[in-house]
């Protein structure tokens, strides 16, 4: 990032807000850490001084006991320093870990509050990278960044002061090459950064090529392209190596360059200091001073390097914070309202009214639903048919208000969907979507998601089993190795498509919704089982409203009403018999075709049965 902070102060301030916020929040830890750091840095002046004294004692034949005290002092300083080093790490860096943890928490909490449309727009990789890399960058600024900065600052004051105290003239001379250091560090950082970006870019190209060659392995082989691909990777790899070498030329140059500055200082000390001592043996510069200077010069290199490092840490934190802020400033497009205690559950709930409803996805122009006018009575079963893209799934997803709906267009139990408390609304609506999503936890935990918290465990288990029975999946679950506590996903059982669908259905049934929406939710379940499930749903004592999108005739024809959707509009509504007989019935075409497909399926099964004989 080459944008300087003075150009856009507000952006920098905004970007450093997290760093400042958490430094303040953990101010006690941070101050303790810094306190220890000050002690370490102050003590760091002394060893060189002790060496000076020792040498002077030796050269000037002072009492030999002094040496013993000096040695003792040296050990003492080391002990105190060691203790303080432990201290600043444990306080300062720990504070940064806490800050990272808090920021991660804040970020995740915010994401959980955002609506589905936000997640439709974002790439998973980007969200993950924010959660890991960017939060880490902020943390590093708070911990390592602050540490390095403070350390450098102290050293820049204490070491020159100590040197000045010993010999002002020599201090001035040996420090001559030092101002070059920050300049070298910053310049090098700039060069390295621009090259680093190129290397990363090149690495991306290699990854992409390897990725495509792996996923397109059949094409590569089918066209005998192995050699072409190999020459491509060879070329890219060579480019990558060359860029890396270019980067390394700068990266590896920094150390030697700084080393050169330091050595130049040492040379000045050796030559000028040495000459001075030869000329005036009783002058200001003793042999001890000479030795102490040697140590101090070696110490001066670090703060210079450190300033460059600190600048780097803070710069990264600022750009990461700005990225994080973009997400944190996003507001949900389906804000909830406060829960109203007066609404109690009664069996006759579940009316859905679409009132001239039109809808388009946030950020798009083309409407997906147009002028939908439909009222569904409590306890009614309504089937929706239409081809892919007709708007069935979108219509269903509006009932639990996954997307924002304009006021007045959709009422649930007579209340505008915008006036419902989201949690309560979603508790009353059971929506089973086409894309099955189960958590990699146990079967029980997955199904229990629908239950109200607070029920006792045994009650909950009973309810879960009841739901699983209705969804015709209970028997299969009991056959899993650990029955209901079998974990799902990578570490556990791999379910078939049909099992997954029935499990998600059970999860929705378990919460006893007033309105149940099945969006092509049983497509991988065989016809007989599907019929069984639909029957079980009907024979429950508490019938809920059901909206079912499906292709199979058997699923559709017994519904109380059938709604035919086409390109976002309702084109036919009625009972099966009515629709079949309507003039120019789109529904009839659909019916006949579906009939034929089912006949074909039956013939296929016949063939298979024949084989088995």
């Amino acid at each position: 990032m080459s944008t300087s902070s003075k150009g856009r102060p507000s952006r920098f301030l905004e970007g450093s807000s997290f760093v400042r916020h958490y430094l303040w929040k953990y101010r006690v830890w941070v101050s303790l850490g810094l306190l220890f750091l000050v002690v370490v840095d102050l003590l760091d002046i002394l060893p060189a001084f002790l060496l000076k004294r020792s040498v002077d004692v030796v050269v000037e034949h002072q009492p030999i006991n002094t040496l013993f005290y000096l040695a003792l002092a040296y050990v003492g300083i080391s002990v105190v320093q060691g203790f303080c080093r432990y201290g600043w790490r444990m306080f300062l860096i720990r504070a940064s870990v806490f800050a990272g943890r808090d920021l991660r928490k804040k970020y995740t909490r915010h994401l959980y509050g955002l609506s589905v449309s936000f997640f439709d727009r974002q790439l998973l990789g980007d969200l993950m990278s924010l959660a890991t890399n960017d939060i880490e960058a902020v943390r590093m600024a708070i911990g390592a960044g602050l540490l390095v900065f403070a350390d450098a600052l102290f050293f820049l004051i204490t070491v020159p002061v100590a040197m000045f105290f010993l010999s002002p003239k020599l201090t001035f001379l040996v420090c001559l090459p030092l101002p070059l250091v920050p300049w070298i560090v910053l310049k090098n950082e700039k060069e390295v950064h621009s090259r680093f970006l190129k290397v990363q870019d090149s690495f991306g190209k290699i990854s992409a090529l390897v990725h495509e060659s792996l996923s397109g392995v059949r094409v590569t082989k089918g066209f005998a392209l192995e050699d072409v691909q190999i020459s491509r990777i060879t070329r890219l790899g060579e480019q990558y190596s060359a860029l890396n070498m270019d980067l390394a030329a700068f990266q590896t140059a920094l150390g030697p360059k700084l080393d050169l500055c330091m050595s130049f200082g040492l040379f000045i000390l050796l030559f000028v200091g040495g000459s001075e001592m030869i000329r005036s043996p009783q002058g200001a510069i003793t042999l001890g001073t000479f030795v102490a200077f040697q140590r101090y010069i070696q110490k001066m290199i670090w703060p210079m390097t450190a300033l460059g490092m600190a600048a780097n840490y803070f710069q990264r934190a600022v750009s990461s914070s700005n990225r994080l802020n973009e997400v944190l400033e996003t507001q949900t497009d389906v804000p909830s309202v406060a829960l109203q205690a007066s609404r109690t559950r009664s069996p006759r709930f579940g009316r859905v009214e679409f009132n001239s409803l039109s809808f388009r996805f946030p950020g798009t122009i083309e409407p997906v639903l147009k002028e939908i006018q439909l009222t569904i009575e409590p306890g009614e079963r309504v089937a929706f048919v239409g081809r892919v893209g007709a708007g069935k799934s979108t219509l269903f997803s509006l009932v639990p208000r996954l997307y924002p709906v304009e006021r007045g267009m959709l009422r649930i139990d007579g209340i505008d969907v915008n006036d419902w408390n989201l949690e309560e609304l979603r508790h009353r609506v059971g929506y089973v979507s086409q894309d099955v999503f189960l958590f990699s936890e146990s079967v029980l935990e997955n199904v229990a998601m629908g239950l109200v918290e607070g029920a006792s465990r045994s009650e909950a288990v009973l309810e879960i089993e009841a739901a699983a029975r209705i969804a015709a999946v209970h028997d299969e679950i009991t056959r899993f190795s650990q029955a209901y506590v079998t974990p799902l996903g990578e570490r556990g059982v791999n379910l078939s498509g049909g099992q997954k669908q029935r499990l998600t259905l059970a999860r929705a049934i378990a919460k006893k919704p007033d309105i149940l929406l099945l969006d092509d939710a049983l497509s991988s379940v065989d016809v007989a089982t599907e019929a069984e499930i639909l029957r079980a749903l009907r024979t429950r004592p508490q019938r809920n409203t059901e909206l079912i999108a499906a292709h199979r005739i058997s699923t559709i024809q017994d519904a109380d009403r059938i709604v035919v959707l086409h390109e976002g509009r309702v084109i036919q509504i009625g009972k099966h018999e009515e629709l079949i007989q309507a003039p120019q019935s789109v529904y009839r075409q659909f019916y006949e075709q579906q009939k034929m497909a089912e006949e074909l399926e039956a013939y296929k099964n016949e063939l298979e049965a024949g084989e088995r004989l």
Partner: protein, 606 residues
């Protein structure tokens, strides 16, 4: 190791065998040897780098000694001329040290890059030649990691780990020896704390590895959780699971930061130990060395040099402890890379055969003789192709129809030898397919598939496959096929999102036509075209393909109506064959399929 994978393991290695399990930093001599062989290729670089390390270490040892010498011989003895000489020598030593350090870093980087590039190309070439069956089983993400991350950490091992360990190790050794040579007694005193600290360094690097391992595994648990929740956010909202999920998150988050603090604590303990060790060492020097100097047994400059040596003894130790982990993870990566490299490729046998048998002009006479095939080779059963026998005469156009799972795509896979029949044999022009070199065999087929795979590059490059000699051919082919194309230089977006499905299929046709195939295979190749487009294409295709054999797999029966013969497959069995008219008369599966599709155009069905 991994029972779930072991269960259906067969000739194809499980992911565990592809080196996915974390080995616990043990070095296998095989890996070391294989790596060594690859370094030996760059003997000149290695030797020069070694030399630089030696020179650098020597100069680094010389500098403090020169300082001490200056004190004793020039300053104390008041000899300005000698001081000038020593100053010059100091500058010389410094320049030598810095030059050596720079050069050595460069050379190791170069060596790392060279070896990494060699291995990258070798690994990639190897992956290209592995049997297709491996790619069915091992997720491509894992193989990708081998070529990118593992090669990367190998590279880092050379440029960061290896250099640091060797040069710092040598420096430590040099300092110790020099101190002992200079003055045995003082050397022993100064080095007395060294063994303890060396042991501490080993201990520390092990602790650190464990702590980092813990941090990594906690972080990955946290990431897995977040990725799952972010992608299942709809479910979280629908079931009001925000609070329970956040509770789980908090727990994982806390565990992660605890692990981080654990790793910090390791550092926090180690650092003071080093400080204390150096302190004790110097204190001993002050006391004993000081006394020796006062009594005249030791020159003061030597003592000063000892101070420098001791102080520069401990930094390298830390470096080594730090970089040892880089080195180990590089070795682990090397091991994984070599495991993949040791998998047998599909070409090894044939390369020999190929040399002895030149491939004759292919006529296109295909014969399946009692072919059986199953994707699992551990046991018989789950047959996808069952006792399939039929013949396609050269120049004949054949249609293949059947439901999903009938075995149509498998049949093509067998023809292209992505898979080998489990029983029976397939012949081409009277010779078993196995006698052909796979690559020239495949090159003689022109395969057009429904999913058109696009490589990154331009539209044209996707047809010519970077063979510029085919450029004219492409224009000719596109003209012949009467296919309008917007722009040949169009750069493909990720996954070709800037092409329509129709355009993609056009590309696939042109691609196949440009390779001048002897046998055409069209696998659902026109399913995304409208019937008008399809008709035009069919007509021009007849022209292009001339008298070549053609195999048309299609769901849409209108596409294959005109073929010479139609094979109806069901569950890997050939249930009917004949031309369209015959099959309609038979009133079997084909005629039912046909009737069903006759009523297809409807606003309701996809």
């Amino acid at each position: 190791m991994n029972s779930k994978l072991e269960k259906d393991s067969d000739s194809v290695p499980s992911s565990g065998q592809i080196g996915l399990e974390d080995s616990k930093g043990k070095l296998h001599s095989g890996t070391v040897l294989q790596l060594f062989a690859r370094i030996l290729k760059y003997r000149r670089i290695t030797v020069e780098a070694g030399l630089m390390i030696f020179l650098g270490t020597f100069a680094a040892l010389l500098e403090p000694r020169l300082f001490g010498y200056a004190i004793d011989e020039a300053i104390v003895s008041k000899r300005q001329d000698l001081l000038e000489w020593i100053g010059a020598a100091f500058i010389g030593a410094t320049c030598l040290r810095i030059y050596a350090a720079k050069r050595q870093a460069y050379l190791f980087e170069l060596l790392g890059q060279r070896v990494a590039q060699d291995l990258r190309v070798e690994l990639f070439s190897h992956l290209q030649r592995l049997p297709v069956a491996i790619f069915d089983r091992v997720p491509s993400g894992r193989l990708l990691t081998r070529v990118t991350n593992d090669i990367g950490s190998l590279n880092e091992m050379f440029s960061a780990g290896f250099v640091s360990i060797v040069s710092n190790g040598l420096l430590v050794l040099g300092i110790l020896i020099w101190m002992l040579v200079l003055d045995v007694k003082l050397g022993l005193i100064a080095a007395s704390v060294f063994p303890i600290l060396a042991w501490l360094s080993v201990y520390f690097s092990r602790q650190l590895r464990e702590a980092y391992g813990e941090v990594r595994s906690r972080l990955s648990a946290l990431n897995v959780f977040l990725a799952e929740n972010f992608s299942g956010m709809k479910t979280v909202h629908l079931f009001n699971q925000q609070i329970p999920q956040l509770r789980k998150f908090d727990e994982l988050n806390q565990k992660y930061s605890d692990a981080q603090i654990g790793s910090i604590r390791v550092f926090a303990y180690f650092q003071p130990m080093i400080t204390l060790g150096a302190g004790v060492s110097i204190a001993l020097l002050i006391w004993f060395g000081g006394k020796e100097t006062v009594s005249g047994h030791l020159k003061v400059g030597v003592l000063v040099a000892y101070f420098s040596y001791v102080l520069s003894l401990f930094q390298p130790l830390r470096e080594i402890a730090d970089k040892w982990n880089v080195f180990l993870s590089g070795m682990t990566s090397a091991e994984r890379v070599f495991t993949v490299l040791n998998l047998p490729t599909e070409l090894k046998k044939e390369e020999v055969l190929h040399k002895t048998q030149p491939i004759p002009e292919i006529q296109g006479n295909i014969k399946f003789e009692n072919v059986w095939f199953s994707y699992r080779s551990d046991r018989e059963g789950d047959w996808v192709i069952r006792d399939l026998s039929f013949e396609i005469r050269a120049g004949e156009k054949i249609g293949i129809v059947g439901h999903t799972g009938a075995g149509k795509s498998t049949l093509i896979g067998l023809l292209l030898r992505f898979y080998e029949p489990k029983k029976g044999r397939i012949t081409l022009d009277g010779r078993d397919l196995r006698e052909y070199d796979k690559r020239s065999l495949r090159a003689s087929f022109g395969l057009v598939q429904q999913d058109v795979f696009l490589f990154s590059g331009t539209f044209e490059e996707n047809i010519t496959f970077w063979d510029s000699s085919k450029k004219q051919e492409v224009e000719h082919v596109l003209k012949e096929l009467r296919l309008p194309i917007r722009n040949l230089d169009l750069e493909m977006n990720e996954r070709g999102s800037n092409l329509s499905m129709g355009e993609r299929q056009v590309l696939a046709f042109a691609r196949a036509a440009a390779s001048k195939p002897r046998i055409w295979i069209l696998d659902e190749a026109t399913s995304s075209m409208d019937s008008e487009q399809e008709k035009v294409l069919q007509k021009s295709l007849t022209q292009i393909s001339g008298g070549r054999t053609g195999i048309y797999v299609a769901h849409r029966l209108a596409t294959i109506r005109e073929t010479d013969r139609i094979l109806v497959l069901h569950k890997g069995l050939l249930v009917e064959q004949g031309n369209h008219g015959d099959l309609i008369k038979r009133n079997g599966l084909y005629s039912r399929l046909y009737r069903y599709q006759g009523s297809q155009p409807s606003p309701l069905c996809p």
